[in-house]
Symmetry: C2
Subunit: 348 residues, 2 copies
Amino acid sequence: MPGLSEIARAAGVSISTVSRVLNRRAGVNEETRQRVLSVLAEMPYTPRGLGALQRTGVIGLLVPELSNPVFPAFAEALETRAARLGYSSLLCNTRSGAPMGEEEYVRMLLARGVEGMVFVSPEITNVEVPLGQAPQPSYYAKLLADGVHMVFLNGATPALDVPDVTVDEQLAGYTATKHLIELGHERIGFVSGPARSLPSRLKRAGWAAALEEHHLPAGSDLVAHAPFSAEGGGQAMATLFETVAPTAVICSSDHMALGVMREAHQRGVSVPDELSVVGFDDIPLAAYSSPALTTLAQPIEEMATAAIDELVLRLDPDRRRPGSDNYTRVFRPRLVVRESTAPPKQDT
Amino acid sequence: MPGLSEIARAAGVSISTVSRVLNRRAGVNEETRQRVLSVLAEMPYTPRGLGALQRTGVIGLLVPELSNPVFPAFAEALETRAARLGYSSLLCNTRSGAPMGEEEYVRMLLARGVEGMVFVSPEITNVEVPLGQAPQPSYYAKLLADGVHMVFLNGATPALDVPDVTVDEQLAGYTATKHLIELGHERIGFVSGPARSLPSRLKRAGWAAALEEHHLPAGSDLVAHAPFSAEGGGQAMATLFETVAPTAVICSSDHMALGVMREAHQRGVSVPDELSVVGFDDIPLAAYSSPALTTLAQPIEEMATAAIDELVLRLDPDRRRPGSDNYTRVFRPRLVVRESTAPPKQDT
DNA sequence: GAGGTTGTTGCAAGGTTTTGCGGAATTGTT
DNA sequence: AACAATTCCGCAAAACCTTGCAACAACCTC
């Protein structure tokens, strides 16, 4: 919407100068250049050629990382659905290199003429982002005000009027724990992601609810926090082994669960005989570990489809339906029992 | 360089019509639209606003798929290195949806103002692409002629003057096979990717060379082709079990190797006691399977660094060094021995 | 078969961005 | 302190893209 003139006025220079800065032509003082650039960062400018070219048929997909295979799996499902609807996708790894945060990536995408975007497990999910690099709560709000179309996948926030698609994390935690309780376990640990991660908190709530329902302990000594990674899972499990030695654990992700199983293997603890493990996500490789991982499946395809469909609905003025904002869809996780869970050995 | 008017003249329509096509406005006949689009494909048009904005600081990364974890791993390494040099990356999954091939993706990226790109295992690697959707050999040549900066990663072709970074696939096949021979195996199979894949062919050559060196059989009955996936690996292994029943196999990728191990597990064949398995790539999860996978590591970080550095060198006129085209770097794969290989049981 | 309707295209006006040029400000030199 | 050189910026003209409008053609309807 804003043209060069807006930028120029805000920066206190002439249109010509802004144009020169944008085209990296010589003859602009460094100080002036910086001033213009900072204004440019505030009010995202897309060159008219592209800005007016509204229907680029390109959407952005923002994922927090690529090492946990859920994210590639989500990305692929999202891309496939988008392609079917005639959109091509640009994938961005928001934690790729330290220097570039989610926010800058979004600005870049906007400048590249992206029509809308899907945030997978966005920053906003982190209850307290470390100080300094915190995207202000206003950041997404600003985007929203700018008329950027977006959808959250597994990272809703009630404060914002953005459509979102999620799994019921709490139900997932509850179901996993219940499964273990029914097998006869009584000391059930939780290998959790970082404490600031909202999904991990929700899972913990479900875990605690199931345990309390059966009058089993749900103290914080049964919970070990670690980064989301296989290594993290291994470390957290190491802690639990040393302290409470649970007979079963649930994990924040399959990726962490793999680390847990490796740690058990290295300690000579047999899975599932001596330790039952439940993962989350049902990544494609979960069936290929040995023992094959019992896990709670996110319906990745369905969720991806729902997210893309909702986004496209908002993109395409023809298909836009009347005032159905505040769209939220919650999917139920599905328990997939494989080989990594079994009743506890009775010699406990 | 060419403006709308050029395109219009070439397509035999007015400027207005071209503008309408570009903006996907209604009111253009489908036939006319196609004509304009085909002209547009010939002379890639970048809207003035972006074409002039030459230094966008964005590069494109094209990977063939995301389900095999090597590709996310490469993508992450490439992104990290690019970010360190001040470039942000756009990742594209070229097989995401059927409708969009590698070529269209490249055009799209170019139109989005990408400065250069890295092709990971590009289409060109396929010796004979299925008829019809074949990117003409001239396709990359055309890009090259248009002055697009690119680098091939694991997919060189001597016909083109494009820098490339690869692992020595043949050496990988040789080393893996040699390792198994030294353990005492004599009937060594090869679970290969599709026959048209050049890397698989090279690995096979290395495999055959090692076997022949020790006067061991290397017939085509020991080779089973299947798609690059865990399922594919399982199927290929099933075939081998039924026919030659090897005591060891090497695989085209770790991903396939996981499928092989699963198939063995399901048949009650113990790895490594009754079947030794060697993978390729050393994906991050290779250490987390059980038994942990013996594999040939691609030095992913180093290769990614080399590829990005070479690309950036060509992008940045200041750093460009004199006439050092035809750059090629070959990395040696590294044997990582874990738990999936052992001497054959002597009851054979 | 005439008139109306719908769809497609070019023209020209209007708005936005680029760029050549001149003037002002700053710096260095004598 | 004055002059010259350089750098930097705004003005205005030119180039470019978008869009309303009208013309034309094809098709349908009566």
